[in-house]
């Protein structure tokens, strides 16, 4: 075995291998360094993979893009307040919640689901929370304060049965899910059930402790030039009065209440294939309303593929109908351009934040696009809005009925917030909980992209933590192994 003998010799003497002019010891040293660096490189190239994946059963779907831009302008004339919003989306989503005739019965398509609606039946939306300073945490933390314990579409969401069983939220207020709510409406922010006594709720509301919610929807309000007007308090509610839509479904008869009026639209129903191929645009009939409908005719010979919108658009009234679309909200060349208008003083201070000249407000925006619903929206951090006052966004004062919109856009970064809620942010799991108690604003410590990444990681918190611990341990073992290799392969003092 001359070759083995030679190898041993080289280890002992560090003599070069005759053929290659290279010592075995040195070759192994290089190999050890190469293994060490190579594995570090592999670690670098593969880090952050293997854990984050969509899991609809756990209400987890991570959007491809974690941030998106929104442009906003505001203007007022002393009587009306205008907001103009512009944001990109690949194509407009103006269909929503349909009932399709199939197999001899009417079947719902386009309900709110985790992630994007698989058939593309879910509308675009823009929403804006408004406060006048009555909810001080909102100015610092924006919509985060409205995200409470076991919210709808979180992995640990409260069940409909649990909410229905709640004596106040379920039995009295007819809620079926835990929606946005404000912290002071709960005795314990970590327990959605712990609603404060009703007299305390009334006192808070009277003190203006609620957030105004402007809520424009591309299907459920836009076709009739309306916007929903809501507020957030111990839950999310519509303002007093009639909203811009209601359900078009007779649950007893299991059929729509209304169909399209053939005399006005030339048809009784939409065609499912037209929806799937996005053939129906802004100038076509793709919605059902008071103006284009007739009572449903159950005796008509309905055929497979006939489709009737499940949401019935109606002229709202009262405080619920304060917000209108100014002009026409349309998608063009890749961007939505939506302008909403409302009286500065609606006369409904219990539902709306009254806008006053020379006052500063706090607003936060959100956009739903690409057929995402519920919590799969992009949200902003709070933005100050000044009516003729210095602020991050300054509303321009104008004379006349319509703004000129000659001021620059305010550019806002929206981000996917993931499953981060207010109880978590105030818990020991958040290093900034102490800062929140001290009133440090979120913007001073976090950027939007940072919050988006944190939001995503929170959805896989346990798995990432486990993998992180393994990674630390593996790294230490690698360093230890490399240390042993180095010390075994290098010559030593006195050798």
């Amino acid at each position: 075995m001359p070759r083995v003998k030679e190898t041993v010799l080289h280890f002992e003497t560090d003599e070069p291998v005759k053929e290659g002019g290279f010592s075995m010891k040195r070759a192994l040293l290089y190999l050890a360094v190469a293994i060490f660096v190579g594995v570090l490189g592999l670690s670098w190239l593969t880090h952050g993979t293997g854990v984050i994946k969509n899991d609809i059963a756990r209400n987890i779907f991570i959007p491809t893009e974690l941030t998106m831009p929104l442009q906003v302008k505001a203007a007022y004339n002393g009587r009306d307040m205008f907001f103009r919003y512009r944001w990109p989306t690949r194509q407009p989503s103006i269909y929503h919640d349909m009932i399709k005739f199939e197999g001899g019965k009417w079947v719902r398509h386009g309900a709110s689901v985790a992630g994007p609606e698989p058939e593309g039946i879910y509308e675009d939306r823009v929403t804006m929370l408004v406060d006048d300073g009555s909810v001080p945490e909102f100015a610092r933390y924006g919509g985060y304060i409205t995200v409470g314990d076991r919210m709808r579409f979180f992995t640990n969401e409260a069940t409909a049965a649990e909410v229905r069983a709640h004596p106040y939220l379920g039995q009295k207020m007819k809620q079926t899910e835990v929606g946005k709510h404000l912290p002071a409406t709960r005795l314990d922010i970590s327990d959605w059930k712990s609603v404060v006594p009703e007299e305390q709720l009334a006192a808070l509301r009277k003190a203006g402790y609620f957030l105004d919610l402007w809520h424009w929807r591309a299907h459920r309000s836009n076709p009739i030039g309306a916007s929903d007007d809501q507020y957030i308090f111990e839950a999310r509610y519509g303002d007093a009065g009639k909203g811009p839509f209601t359900d078009n479904w007779d649950s007893q008869k299991q059929q729509p209440k209304f169909m399209l009026d053939p005399d006005k639209t030339g048809r009784r129903a939409l065609n499912w294939d037209d929806l799937m191929q996005h053939k129906l645009g802004f100038d076509d009939v793709y919605y059902i309303s008071e103006d284009n409908s007739a009572p449903f005719d159950a005796n008509y010979a309905w055929k497979t593929g006939d489709t009737i919108p499940r949401r019935f658009l109606q002229r709202g009234d009262g405080s619920h109908a304060d917000i209108k679309v100014a002009g026409k909200a349309r998608w063009k060349d890749g961007y939505w351009d939506v302008t909403l208008v409302r009286a500065m003083d609606t006369g409904n201070p219990a539902d709306d934040k009254i806008m006053v000249d020379k006052r500063v407000y706090n607003v936060a925006f959100a956009v739903h696009r690409d057929t995402f619903g519920s919590r799969w929206h992009y949200v902003s951090l709070p933005v100050t809005l000044g009516l003729g006052r210095d602020a991050e966004m300054i509303a321009a004062r104008f004379d006349g009925d319509a703004p000129k919109w000659d001021q620059a856009w305010t550019n806002v970064v929206l981000f996917y917030p993931g499953q981060v809620n207010w109880p978590l942010l105030n818990s020991a799991k958040h290093a900034g909980a102490k800062d929140i108690r001290a009133g440090v604003p979120v913007k001073s410590r976090h950027s939007e992209i940072q919050l988006a990444h944190y939001g995503v990681e929170m959805e896989f918190a346990d798995a990432i933590k486990r993998q992180w611990l393994f990674t630390i341990g593996a790294g230490v073992l690698l360093i230890l192994g490399f240390g042993i290799a180095l010390n075994g392969l290098l010559g030593r003092k006195g050798a």
């Binding site: 280890f11 002992e12 010891k25 040195r26 192994l28 040293l29 190999l31 050890a32 360094v33 293994i35 060490f36 190579g38 594995v39 592999l42 670690s43 670098w44 190239l45 593969t46 880090h47 952050g48 993979t49 293997g50 854990v51 020991a428 799991k429 958040h430 290093a431 001073s444 410590r445 990444h453 944190y454 990681e457 918190a461 933590k465 992180w468 393994f470 990674t471 630390i472 593996a474 790294g475 230490v476 073992l477 690698l478 360093i479 230890l480 192994g481 490399f482 240390g483 042993i484 290799a485 180095l486 010390n487 075994g488 392969l489 290098l490 010559g491 030593r492 003092k493 006195g494 050798a495």
Partner: protein, 184 residues
Amino acid sequence: MAAYHAVLVHFPIALLMTATLAILVRAVSDAPLARAVDRALVPLLAVGVLAGVVAYGVGLMVWPWETISATPLGRNHMLVATWTLAYWALLLATRWIIGEAIWEGVTRWVMAGLAILGSALLGITGTLGGHLVGIYTEVSEALRLLGWEVYTTYYVPDFTLAAILIAAIILTVMGILGRRRMAA
């Protein structure tokens, strides 16, 4: 404890960065000055690693485990700090055990490369610590460009964990065999 940690981390940073400089000087020079610097290397590394252990220990007391292990930046800071400490301990042990022979032949360049890598780890640890207290540097932007978004936890998938463990075993075996043969 945060304030104490902030004070204490200056010691390992200063000492280990100085050690890096000493290693680089010795790697490129056999002059008397470089040899003199090298004689101070083991004490320098030893005190640096010891100071690192103290700073690491105090750092563990800044936030409860529940907090630090729940935040991506906190996790990253802990991960890189742990690796950095282990890595510099490796360099200390290597220089200590091998002695001046470490500077013979090509191994001096291996040592220089390892020192540069150690400095990089040290710098990343400090950068992440700065992030945790709201002090940001462009280092994180550089890491982002290189492929690591520091606002996401650094972890590797199972197959990479397996590769690391196999590599660690192979390296250990190589070291043990090498030592036995030298001892033979």
